[in-house]
């Protein structure tokens, strides 16, 4: 039995090869769409074509007004607790191997973050108004 692999095709066996193919296809599709639009797409100049869309009526006011910082706060809190969840998920995979010590360490991790949650709660960061 000849079990040796043809060296020219050895690259195709790696995982990275799939990734390279995927990247190449994505790049090709993106570039092809732009190029085809440029070659085949129609052109007609119209100054109104690039006006800002507001359901067909003239603009009421500028879009560049400052808006409340509550959105930023909600986003930051979400990120923090989402990362906590991201750490919990691999722990759920290996929790048998880590045993009681791992459980204790994870508990400490969760308690620290729960303390942070209580702080946010008491400071009113969870209130929308």
């Amino acid at each position: 039995m000849n079990l040796s692999v043809d060296p020219a095709l050895a690259a195709a066996n790696t995982d990275l090869f799939g990734l390279a193919v995927y990247a190449a296809v994505a790049l090709t599709v993106g570039v092809a769409l732009l190029v085809l639009s440029e070659l085949l797409g129609p052109r007609r100049r119209d100054p109104e074509k690039s006006t800002i869309y507001e359901c067909g009526v003239p603009l009421f006011d500028s879009a560049r007004e400052p808006f409340t910082i509550k959105f930023y706060l909600v986003a930051i809190l979400f990120i923090l607790f989402d990362i906590e969840t991201v750490f919990l998920i691999p722990y759920a995979v290996v929790y048998e191997d880590l045993g009681i010590v791992g459980l204790f360490e994870m508990g400490v991790f969760l308690l620290v973050l729960a303390g942070g949650l209580v702080y946010c709660w008491r400071r009113g960061a969870l209130e929308w108004d």
Binding site: L40, P42, G56
Partner: protein
Amino acid sequence: MGLESLFGGEGFLTTKINDLVNWARKSALWPMPFGTACCAIEMMATFSGRYDISRFGAEVVRFSPRQSDLLIVSGRISLKMMPVLQKIYRQMPEPKWVISMGACASCGGVFDTYTLIQGVDQFIPVDVYVPGCPPRPESLLDAVFEVQKIVQEERLDSGKHGR
């Protein structure tokens, strides 16, 4: 810039590419529904399950002119609405086609009054008119087929869309 100059003159290849592009455009006409009145109800019926328009490619119904190529004017257009319609039409990118659905959009319908535009074709170019008050969904589907025929006959370098 044009297809002809790219391929050095008309030929088999440009015709085939023309046909391919037209087929792609007609098979995926994205409607922009401009429904103002009763015809809009029939248009909604055409878009939903029983008279499904997405069988013919017109599935992506987005209420954004920038993401559409078929404007369906369904309903009465009043004095206050006409500048809005014109602005929406002009904000659509090329290529674009317009269906004037129903009697009111085509000619004012039964309402010959001080406030209703007697036919949107006085102020925007219309490709297909659909008679009816309101037209049945089958009539609107027929209008979409007519637009598809128009799209199939277009030439990429005809100058109709500025190319």
